[in-house]
């Protein structure tokens, strides 16, 4: 279990992590989701004792990471694909790490096989692809057979087969009762992998809930409506908390009203509707909705088009 309380990290005049509190429970995969620069990696480095919090604290199984008697056996981490001296072979890198905790060579061999590094283990890390580097990082994380596993963007650079492998691996680890905390900026990946989601934006926690709740709860009900009197219907539906977007000359997207209400309004005013489709919010849309004010680096296209919503209606 990982517990963060009021965790804050300030770099100069920039607050990377701003009073973050959360708990990562054992036995399930907890996703840590946020746009680039939201503070995911900084938070993870603070958990691992690599960055000192400006204020607040974080513990793993009740103890600050650095206080554990056998840190590698307690917490395994992949913080950055580049946490390896590239002049060393993968095998020697793992061997040197294992030596600090008297982890036997047999275990080094085991994690090499497990991560599919067998063929390249005796090669220098310099020549590794991003995906190979990720596999080596995951091998290092598993070395001490730890109770808690922290993975920062583990699927970055992996081929599709590797992505599926990581997905199954973390689910399996969680099913064994381990604590699995994994970050990503890919919502689609989180939807497939995580049971629970902590969403961070600009250093603050925006949401901390089961993934199903985030998809259904936060996204307001939306519906696609096709009618031959769109202007008239728009006027009738207009109310607080309801937004209507004209997508085509006869196509509207209505947010904030259940489909039933739209149908009733149309019926009451004798407006013919020839399509009325309730739209299920995807995790991606829920995420965009959650983080729309928190995105650190807006792309020019998004800021340039003065669209009413960040989702752009697609």
């Amino acid at each position: 279990m990982i517990e963060a309380t009021g965790l804050t990290k300030v770099y100069g005049d920039k607050t990377a992590v701003d009073g973050v509190s959360f708990t990562v429970q054992a036995g399930r995969v907890t996703g840590f989701l946020g746009p680039n620069g939201a503070g995911k990696s900084t938070t993870m480095r603070m958990i691992m004792g690599l960055d000192r919090p400006t204020s607040g604290s974080v513990t793993v199984n009740g103890v600050p990471f650095a206080q554990h008697a056998a840190p590698l056996r307690e917490v395994g981490s992949l913080l950055d694909a580049k946490a390896v001296h590239t002049g060393r072979t993968a095998y020697n890198h793992l061997l040197a790490m294992a030596a600090t905790h008297s982890i036997p060579r047999k275990r080094v061999q085991e994690v090499i096989e497990m991560t599919g590094l067998g063929e390249v283990a005796k090669k220098k890390v310099k020549g590794f692809s991003l995906g190979m580097g990720q596999r080596l990082g995951i091998a290092a994380a598993l070395l001490g057979d730890p109770q808690t596993i922290i993975l920062d963007e583990p699927v970055n650079g992996l081929d599709p087969e590797g992505v599926v492998w990581v997905r199954n691996l973390v689910k399996y680890l969680a099913s064994e009762g381990r604590t699995v905390f994994l970050s990503s900026h890919l919502m689609s990946e989180m939807a497939m992998t995580a049971d629970h989601l902590i969403v961070i934006g600009r250093g603050r926690i925006i949401a901390d809930a089961p993934i199903s709740e985030i998809i259904s709860g936060k996204g307001q009900s939306r519906a696609r409506v096709r009618t031959d009197q769109p202007q008239q219907l728009m006027r009738l539906l207009a109310a607080d908390g309801v937004s209507v977007e004209v997508q085509d000359h006869e196509l509207l997207e209505v947010t904030g009203l259940p489909a039933r209400e739209i149908a009733r309004t149309a019926l009451d005013h004798q407006i013919m509707v020839y399509e009325l489709t309730p739209l299920q919010a995807s995790l991606e849309e829920a995420y965009m909705e959650l983080t729309k004010d928190e995105v650190e680096y807006h792309s020019l296209i998004t800021t340039g088009a003065a669209a009413p919503t960040q989702t752009g209606g697609q």
């Binding site: 056998a70 030596a99 600090t100 905790h101 598993l142």
Partner: protein, 283 residues
């Protein structure tokens, strides 16, 4: 690519051994010897030490032959007696110290430039034991490489000197002291180098600072006139070393114990600073 090799979670609270100092030392030694750059730099040190000794032996021989026709030179030559050849095995030390010192800088700075430090300090989150273990590996290696390559230099220089009727008395007090102090001195340079690597976290910057301290500053101090620089020059590590090993010190020279103490200060201050900074700074 299977998860079968993962052990089911243990139920007891006993987790297994953690990072004791000997284990960390073993880890740092593995890291030390599994880098090609280490092997190349150690190899170059041996080559430089042996090469300079051979050149030096040949030079002394040539000079002695030339002086046979010149009674004044011959007299000056004879006055030096056994001291003439005693410095031959360690004559490459000025370059050896820079190579080994650079190796020490690299071993630490590369931890930061490659990101390896994150792995190192995830395994040893208290950090200081990892620093001390690395320091021990680096300084012991510096000492051993210096002493061993001096021996090799002796073996190579002896037959060359033999041609001119000279030999090296490796068993003499002066010889033994020179060997021991040279080894310790290069170890001290390595400790300073490793501290620079820790403080600067940058390979080029660390090596440049080291070269500056051991190569540029002594020359600059020699060129700048003024009593201050003349006095200050005595306290530079390079000159402290020369003071300790010389048999015929200048009149106003420091005592050997003073020189040794100042050399100690040159090591302790950067090492302490590096340890404090390493503990405090984010990785």
């Amino acid at each position: 690519m299977s998860t079968a090799a993962l052990q089911p979670r243990r139920q007891d609270s006993k987790v297994g051994p953690g990072p004791s100092f000997l284990r960390i030392l073993n880890s740092e030694f593995i890291k030390f010897r599994t880098l090609l750059s280490t092997l190349i730099l150690v190899g170059s040190t041996v080559l430089v030490m042996v090469g300079f000794a051979a050149l030096n032996a040949w030079g002394i021989g040539q000079f002695s032959e030339a002086s046979n026709n010149d009674p004044e030179a011959a007299a000056a030559f004879a006055a030096q007696g056994a001291d003439l050849t005693v410095g031959i095995p360690t004559s490459g030390i000025a370059f050896a110290q820079l190579i080994i010192g650079s190796l020490a800088v690299l071993l630490m700075s590369s931890e930061f430039t490659t990101g390896m430090a994150r792995s190192t300090f995830a395994a040893v989150p208290k950090r200081t034991p990892a620093f001390i273990a690395k320091l021990l590996v680096v300084t012991v290696c510096a000492f051993v490489v210096t002493v061993v390559s001096s021996f090799l230099a002796y073996i190579v220089a002896t037959p060359i000197l033999d041609n001119y009727g000279f030999d090296i008395d490796l068993g003499s007090d002066h010889s033994r002291r020179l060997l021991l102090v040279s080894g310790l001195y290069v170890a001290a340079v390595a400790a300073i180098g490793m501290s620079l690597g820790t403080l600067l976290r940058n390979s080029a910057g660390g090596i440049m600072s080291l070269v500056g301290l051991f190569f540029v500053v002594p020359i600059a101090f020699q060129l700048i006139p003024g009593e201050f620089f003349e006095e200050a020059r005595k306290y530079l590590p390079d000159n402290l070393f020369n003071r300790i090993v010389t048999a015929a010190p200048a009149e106003d020279a420091l005592e050997v114990w003073q020189a040794s103490m100042w050399l100690g200060v040159w090591v302790v201050v950067p090492v302490a600073a590096a340890m404090i900074v390493l503990k405090k700074r984010d990785v």
